[in-house]
């Protein structure tokens, strides 16, 4: 198990000399624990401490960077089994499989789909992150050709080379030198050769086994050969096995400090039926996969999978926020009601949902309260009369509307006087405390 900041602190010189760039040894210890600093930044740490820190401070699931440049993705670093304990650290990678039996045109088309897959949701950019090039033909030349097409048509996209043939691997991986690809396909029969190729080309080695015992033995073999950047596949292909193996791997790494399985996982979920594939992918996303390899990336499927990934990987301690602005719900007229609330995304979705179901068109002013809900924001001074007044004034709303009435959430009724003082042309109406009373409230005023 990784050492805590306090445990690390006990092993440091405690001189606060600042040579590491931090004000105190304590601060440096905390940075080390969060892997925002490295031990070599401290010139005075004792040999004994170095030993202890080296072994025990390593994170249970190896951190890896896959790809390079602005399309690189991080994997590993996970610390918990359930998202409510602490956030899942690195959102899983979605890859689409390109088989080398496809025509160049088809490969190019898939590459284009990957490049066009990016969507924006709640302020985050979501996309298909990677392309897996599979040696379905078993022909080294075809694999290399497919790899060349991908490199050309999807430059910079992190790539997984999928072959069990070390010579084919070597030729294909050359094309992505400097881009930190995954070389997948190392197994019991070809480990030495594949490890050598991975080492020489500085690629991440992807190991596939039949079961977790074999997988553990294989990662040890790779490590002995000096290859430690690994992603692992137990061979599971059915949803049941994916769930079981991903779970056992995560538990082994986190709860048993079992180093041979302390690596990011890769799941192949390709299916004939795209709908089924999407659901199996869903199991993978929720249950610990680091890379999920899909067979197809239709827009409707991507939308659901990106959203699921976003939901699972949201930090439970940090509220998701929507953009501060005036939202038109329905088709509001100049005399339609104006309501105000905070930008906690759940608040926004619930309130706008209730307004929609009331069928009374409204303008919903959403103010940046750092994602806090109404009451919490008020207590923290982030949903104050002054802030509300400033937002309404600067919004230019008064030009669009004929009735200057602002409906405020019932929980902050206490603010109405103060808001009216700061918005002299406006009348403040106190709305209901709970969103589900909005339809009745709005309809009664319509």
């Amino acid at each position: 198990m990784a050492l805590s900041g306090v445990e690390i602190f006990k092993l440091l010189p405690k001189t606060n000399c600042k040579k590491c760039g931090q004000a105190t040894c304590l601060a440096f210890a905390m940075k080390l624990a969060q892997r925002q600093a490295t031990l070599d930044m401290c010139p005075d740490v004792s040999e004994e401490s170095k030993k202890v820190l080296g072994d025990a401070a390593a994170p249970p699931i190896r951190p890896l960077t896959f790809g390079s440049g602005d399309k690189a993705v991080k994997m590993g670093e996970e610390t918990v089994l359930f998202r409510h304990e602490k956030k899942f650290v690195n959102p899983c990678v979605f890859a689409v499989e390109v088989t080398d039996t496809l025509s160049e045109t088809d490969i190019a088309s898939l590459c284009e789909q990957v490049l066009n897959s990016e969507m924006d949701r709640v302020g985050q950019k979501l996309r298909i992150d990677s392309i897996a090039i599979s040696n379905a033909s078993n022909d080294a030349g075809k694999l290399e050709a497919a790899a060349k097409t991908v490199a050309q048509k999807a430059p910079g996209v992190p790539v997984i080379i999928n072959t069990t043939n070390p010579q084919a691997a070597e030729a294909a991986v050359k094309i992505f030198v400097g881009n930190k690809p995954v070389l997948y396909g190392a197994n019991a029969g070809n480990m030495d050769a594949m490890a050598a190729v991975a080492k020489a080309s500085n690629a991440i080695l992807g190991i596939v086994a039949s079961g977790l015992e074999e997988l553990s033995a294989l990662t040890e073999k790779a490590k002995a050969q000096g290859v430690e950047d690994l992603v692992i596949d137990s061979g599971a292909r059915k949803a049941k096995d994916i769930l079981e193996h991903n779970t056992l791997i995560r538990r082994a790494a986190l709860k048993k400090s079992f180093k041979p399985l302390g690596y990011p996982t890769i799941n192949f979920v390709t299916r004939e039926c795209s709908m089924t594939e999407a659901l199996v992918a869903g199991i993978s996303v929720a249950k610990y996969a680091s890379i999920v390899v899909l067979g197809s990336i239709e827009k409707w499927k991507n939308l659901a999978l990106f959203t699921l990934r976003q939901n699972i990987y949201t930090d439970p301690q940090v509220p998701m926020q929507v953009e501060q602005k005036i939202y038109n719900i329905g088709d509001p007229k100049p005399d339609s009601p104006v309501l105000i609330t905070t930008n906690f995304s759940l608040t926004y979705f619930i309130v706008s949902g209730e307004i929609e179901s009331s069928r009374v068109p409204c303008r919903l002013a959403v103010i940046d309260a750092e994602g806090l809900s109404v009451l919490t924001a008020w207590a923290a001074g982030k949903f104050s009369a002054g802030k509300i007044a400033a937002f309404i004034t600067e919004s230019g709303l008064d030009k669009e509307i004929s009735r200057k009435e602002l409906v405020i959430p019932g929980y902050v009724a206490i603010l109405s006087g103060a808001i009216e003082d700061k918005l002299p042309d406006w009348k403040i109406v106190v709305g209901p405390r709970e969103a589900n009373a909005l339809p009745t409230f709005l309809k009664s005023r319509a």
């Binding site: 977790l212 769930l243 538990r251 659901l279 199991i283 659901a304 939901n311 759940l346 979705f349 619930i350």
Partner: protein
Amino acid sequence: MAFAAPKESYNGSVYAVTIGTGDKAVTVGGENALQFHSFEGDMPNRPLIAYEIQDVPPEDWPENVKKVFDGVSDCPVKWAKFCQDELKARAIALRLVGTHPDREDRSAEDAAKTVKDVLAAIDVPLIILGSNHAEKDTAVLVAAAEAAKDRNCLIGKAQETNYKTIVAAAMANDHQLIALSELDINLAKQLNILITQMGFDKERIVTDPMSSALGYGLEYSYSVTERIRLAALTQNDQIMQQPILSDIGMYVWKVKETHASESDQPQWGPAEDRGILWEAESATAMLTAGAEMLIMRHPKAVAAVEALIDELA
């Protein structure tokens, strides 16, 4: 270093709850490990997906799911038979939305008649849901519970604000009960305590911690469900060992992603597949978190999820 599978074994288990009567009765729950973790425990009962029908035509459902039921959704009896006989539903959930005061405001008597008629037409278990208007539901569910006597239905939903009358009706008429709380594990426990303090059997309750559609709060429903399931297994908390219901279809088919046309949102792809997957993926997530019972709408979403359950069993 040799690998030893780190299996969990828990102190607690989930109650098995049976709804319906005769050979069409369905039991859910009963497991002693996390859902689908059959490698370390027993999963005696397959999760149940119930088809949602309503007492009034579904005018507010988006076209892509409404059209599936064209020709039957104008009559709850026809609709129920269609789900049972054509779609092979293992259970049906009758949502009495028409009784909501802001909708058709149908009376409790009207609701009772619908319940009677539907029960006469089907053998599979019936879940009877109010319109979620807390006050009106007390009258509606009391009448419905009486009309459904002897059929061991699952009645819901009892909430903190209205549970007393509904619990009494469920007890008097020998039904199972859905207890609804709003994404709050501590209030879910409190509601179970209040219900059982009235003398209602803790093993006749199904917990609804409130579901949310993918992208609209799913992570809250997901985590509260996981936490409830873990409390049942690891803390052996006897008041929190009920099976969990995910009433997911209703939330999914309200959101933009199941309504918007492809022409309005070209980067979202075709609406029909998109809507079906939105429901199926939301359901998949809730199953993974631990829900043993789902209420869904679109047959293709149901089929996809049933196929997944086959693969997970």
